[in-house]
Symmetry: D3
Subunit: 237 residues, 6 copies
C-alpha cells in the first residue's frame, strides 16, 4: 500500500556517517532513505546576552536546504534576502528539541550551534536534522569532555525524531515525500532514548483526527525513535 | 496554587465583542482574561497562484503585537524590517488551523485573510487569535451567504484553541503569562466544536514529559475548548 | 454641503478613553468620529546617543495602522519588510510636534516613546495621533511626578492637532476621509493650548491656494484645537 | 548678525547651469551658495498603475546625498540597505510640489522622474532640489514640445522653494547650514511664479511661534521665491 | 617549502564524483584536496527577460558556503539577510566563466543554473566550483542531447580553473588555505581544454608584481588546468 | 575603425579637477572622455575591528552611480534596498587596488574612505574611479603630512587604471561605452607609476583569447597608465 512498498510500521534505511567534514567540532551526514542532511556542531565560548552570567550553556540550531536538494529548484534563501517561514519554524524546533535534552548547567557557559543543511530531500528533513544534529552535538560534547573542559556529561539521554502520519487512511511510520505530500494528518515526534516526550506536533490538513488516531501515531513514533536511538548509539560509540 | 487563584481546570473569563471595527467584513475583539486580540476578516476575490483555477478557496492569517501590548516595550516589527521567528510561526499556525475547519470547495475561489493584532498580552495570544479569528471568519462567511455569493456554509464546525501546561508539577488549563513563563511543559490544542483534533503541539522546556501527562493535558484542553466554542456560538448567533 | 452634514467649522465628535491598555505608563484610545487611535507611552531610562550626558530628555513616536483599519486591506508593513514613506513621514511629525511641547530639561535624561496605532481610520489619523499621544504622554509624566522622579512638570502647555482643508471650494474644519480624498488643499495644524504654533503644513494637490485661504484655514484650526485641548484637559484632569 | 554677513532678507548667490550631464532629457546643476544639487529629468512612456488609462501624466522625484556632501561623512544609503526617514520625507515633498505645478492632462500619459542628488550641502537642499528640479523638468518638457509629443505646455507657472526661519530671534531668508542648525523655527515655502502657494511647512524645534511671525516668514518667502523664479526663467529662456 | 610538502608546480589530489545527489539534471562532488564543493545543474525552459526571443540560452551560477565549511563558523548568509560581497563576486565569476565556454545558440532558449555549495573549504573554492560546475553542466547537457532536445553539443571545449600565487617569494600552483592567507599575489586562471584563456584575475595584496611573475603564474596555470581537464573528461566519459 | 575615430592606442581626453567639493579632506572630479566621476576622501581616526591595535591603517572605497548617469535611467540602489552585484564587485576592486599602493604602517591607525560617484557614464567608470580616487587619497594624505599627523609619505608610487579590450578583432586602449558593449574581451589593468602590476582582470564574453592577445592588451595598458599617471602628478603637484 505504501509507494515504497514498506510495511506500515517500517522505517526507511538509516545510516549515520560521522566526521563527514573536518573543521567542525562534531559532524555527521545522516541518511534516512533518500533524505540526506549534513549536521555540524560548533562550540563557542560565549552565550546569548539573556543568559550571560547564569552559568548555563545554550544550544541553538540553524537549518537550510541547498537549492537543488528538491525535485524542482527552490530559490536560494541568501539570494532572496531572508529565511522563509518554514525554515524559521524548523530551526526553532530543532534548537528547542535538542536543548530539552541537555543539562545546561553541566554544559557550562558556552554555546553549541548545530547547523543542519539538507543536501538531498525526500520528506522528514526536520526529523533527520534533529536525529543527526544530536549526533553532531554528542561528538562536540565528547571533545569537551576529553579535553577536561566539562566534567559531567550534559547529554544524559539521546534525542531523536520521527514523523508519522495518516496516509490513505492508515497510520504509517516515517513518511517519505510521496506520502507526506498526500497525508491528511502528519506529526513530528521528538522523544528521548528512554521514551520520554520532548515535543509532539500533529496537524491535520483538510481534515481532522481523533484521539484514537493520535495514540496510534504515538505508538508508531515510539517504535521508530527506538530504532533511531540505536543508530545514534552505534554512530557515537 | 495558581497565581491567579484559579482552579487547575478553570479558564479565565472570556468575552467576544463582534463589530469592534467597521470596515472589515468580520471583526471581533476577544478577551481571554487580560489577553485582548482584535481579529478582522478580509474577503478578496483572488486566491494564491498555486490554487488558481482549482475552484477552491483559501484562508490565511497574519499576526502582530502592538509594541506596548506587553509589560516592557518590544521593538515594532515594521521598524525592524522583518517579522520575528515567533510571529512567523504563530501566523502560520493560525492560518493552518482555521483552514482545517473550512470546506474550501464550498467557499469557492476567494481568499479570506484573518488579521490578529494583540492589543494587550497576558499569555495565550495565539490561542485567543485562533478562537477570535474563527469568529471574524464566521461573520465574513455569513455576509457572503446573506449576499448569496456562496450557498452552503463552509464552516461546518467551529475551531477554537486553548493552551494547557504543567505548572509547578500540575497540569493546568489556560496558562496566563506568569504561569506560561514558568511552565516546564506547555501545549496548544486546536479542536473543533465536536471535539475532533486539528492541531496538537506540546513542548517541554528544560525537562520532558510522559504519555500520561500528555493525556491529562489533552483532557483539560477538551474541557476548555468546549467552553470557548460556547462563547463563539453565543457571539455569532 | 459636507458629506457628513457637519457645518463648515464643526469638529467630529471627540472622545478620549484613558487606561485602555494596562501595561503602558500611559495609554489612551482617542476617537475623532470614526477615526480610532490607540496611543501608549513608554518610559525608559535611556536616551539616544546624540544627547547622552546632556541632562535633556527625549520624546519620540512610532505610528502604525492595522491592515484592516481602512476600507480595503493594506499590506502589513512588518510583512513587507519596511515602513512606507507615509508612515515614516507621519511618525516623524508626531515625535517632533510632541517634543516641541516638552521642557526637555525638566524631563531629565529619560526617553518617552509614544506608539500610535490606528485601529480604525476615517481621515485625520496623524492629527488624532498627536492629540491622543499628548494624553498618553501626560499620563506617563504624571506617574513620574507622583513617584517623585521629576519635580517640575515638563508639559506646561497641551499640544493638539487638527486638519483643515478646502473642500468643494470652501474652507472646512476637521476633514473626514470622504472630504480628505477630494480636497484640493489640506493642512495639518499643531498648536498649543495657549494658541502658539508648533507646526503648520499646508499642501495643494492639483491646484494652488492664496494667502487669504491660508489665513482662513488657520482661523478654523485655532477653533478646532481649542476644542481638542478642552477634551485633553477633561481626560487628564 | 548673520554668520555669513547677509542682510535679514538677502538670498545667497544663486546659479543654475543647464546641461550639466548629457544623457538626461533635462539636467541642471543648481548652486545656492555652497549648496550644490544636480537635478536630472527622465521621461518614460509609462505611468504608475493607479493612473493607467486615465490620460493623465505623473511627475515623481527621488533625492539622495553623496556620502561626503556634508561636513562629516554620512553612511551611504545604498550600503545601509534603505533610505532614511529624512530622505523619504524630502523626496515625497519634491514630487508633490512639482506635481502641483503641472497640468497633468496636458502632459499626457507619461512619467517624468526628477532625480535630485546633493553634491555639496550647506543647508536648504530640499528647496534647492525643488527649484533646480523644476528647471530640469522644464527642459525635458521643452524637448517633448519640440518633438511634437505634446502640444500645450503643461508647465504654466514656475515652481520654486525657499527656506526661512527665526534665527537669533529674527526672521531671516534662505537659511544656510550654520543658521539652520541653530534656528528655533524653520519653514519651507513652495510657491509659483505668480505667488500662489503650493506647500507651506513651518516647524518649531524646542520653542513655538506666533501667527505674526508666521506672516513675517511668509513675506520673506515671497521675496526669495520671486528672485529664484527670475533665475529659473533666465536658465530656461 | 610549501606547508603541504607539495612541489611548486604540484596540484592537490583531485576527485570528481558524479551523481552525488539525485534530483538535479547534473550533479558532481568535486574534491581538490580538502576543498569539497557540491555542484548541481538545473535546466529550466525559460531565459532571463533580456534575451527572451533571441534563440539563445543562458547559463548562470549561484555560490554558497555552509556556515561550518571553514575553520571558524561564519554567519549563515540567509540569516544575515543578504549575500556578502565576496559571494556575489564569486558567483558572477562562475557564471561568466562557464558561459564563455558555451555555444548559446546550440543550447537554445533555456537556462541552466549551476549551484556551487562548499561543504568544506581549504582554499580555491571558486576554482573548484568552476571545474566541478562544468562537470554538472556537461551532465545536464548530455541529458538534453540524449532526449533529443538539442542536437549539437554546446560544450565544445571544457572549462576549468586553478589558482596560482606567489608564496614566500615563489610562484606556486593551486594554493591551499595556509598558502592563500599568506600569499602576496594570487590569481585565478580560467582556461579551456585547448588552452585558450577565458578569464585571468591576478591581484596583489600589500605588494606588487612584475610582468615576468605574471608569465610564470600563467605557465603554472596552464599545467594545472590541463590536469583538471583530464579529470573532467574522465568523470564525464 | 573606432566609433570615436581614435587610434587603437589612443586614450580619451583626461582632466582632473581637484577641490570640486569643499567638505572632504580630498576631492577630485575626473573626466575620461564623457565618463565623469566625483571622488572624495574621508579621513577617520578609527580602523576596522580586524586590524585594531596593529598600528596599520586602512583604505576602503565605496562606489555609486547616479540613476541618470547612464543613457536610460537605472533604479536608485538606495531605493532598491541594496547595492547590486556589479557595484559590490567594483567597490571591492577600487579599495583593494588603492590599498595595494599604500604603505599602511606609514599611514598609521586611521582609515581613509574613498567615495567614487559616477555623475556621467560612458564606459570605464571603475578605472576612472581608481585613477581619480588615488588623487583624492593623495590630497587627503598631503593634508595629514602638512599637519604633521604622519611623517613619511605612505603613497610612494601612484596607482592608476585603464581598460583595454579586443574590439572588432583589434586590441584597443581605453574602451568607451560603444566599444565596451561590443568587445569580445575586455580587461582592467591597475598599475603603479613605475609600471608594477597591482591587479589584472581580463575576461572574455562569448569567445576566448590567446596569451599573445593578453600580452598585446598588457602593452596597451602600460602606455595608457603612464599617461594617466602624468595627469595625476600634474593635478597633485
Amino acid at each position: 500500500m505504501r509507494p515504497s512498498g514498506r510495511k506500515l510500521d517500517e522505517m526507511r534505511a538509516v545510516s549515520i556517517e560521522t566526521g563527514f567534514t573536518k573543521h567542525a567540532e562534531g559532524s555527521a551526514l545522516i541518511k534516512v532513505g533518500h533524505t540526506h542532511v549534513l549536521c555540524t556542531a560548533t562550540i563557542e565560548d560565549r552565550v546569548p546576552p539573556f543568559i550571560k552570567g547564569s552559568g548555563l550553556g545554550w544550544v541553538t540550531a540553524e537549518y537550510g536546504m541547498l537549492p537543488r536538494a528538491t525535485n524542482t529548484r527552490m530559490r536560494r534563501e541568501a539570494a532572496m534576502g531572508k529565511q522563509g517561514g518554514r525554515t524559521v519554524e524548523i530551526q526553532r524546533l530543532i534548537g528547542r528539541s535538542l536543548r530539552a535534552g541537555v543539562d545546561r548547567s553541566a554544559l557550562g557557559e558556552r554555546q553549541i550551534t548545530i547547523d543542519c543543511d539538507v543536501l538531498q530531500a525526500d520528506g522528514g528533513t526536520r526529523c533527520a536534522s534533529i536525529t543527526g544534529g544530536w549526533v553532531a552535538l554528542k561528538l562536540a560534547v565528547n571533545k569537551l569532555m576529553k579535553a577536561g573542559d566539562i566534567v559531567s556529561d550534559p547529554l544524559v539521554d539521546p534525542v531523536a525524531a520521527v514523523s508519522c502520519g495518516i496516509y490513505a487512511g492508515q497510520p504509517v511510520l516515517d513518511l517519505d515525500y510521496p506520502e507526506d505530500s498526500e497525508a491528511g494528518v502528519d506529526g513530528n515526534f521528538i522523544l528521548t532514548g528512554t521514551g520520554r516526550l520532548i515535543e509532539v506536533q500533529m496537524s491535520a490538513e483538510g481534515q481532522t483526527f481523533s484521539r484514537d488516531q493520535m495514540n496510534q501515531l504515538m505508538d508508531l513514533a515510539e517504535k521508530g525513535v527506538s530504532e533511531l536511538v540505536a543508530a545514534q548509539k552505534a554512530a557515537t560509540a
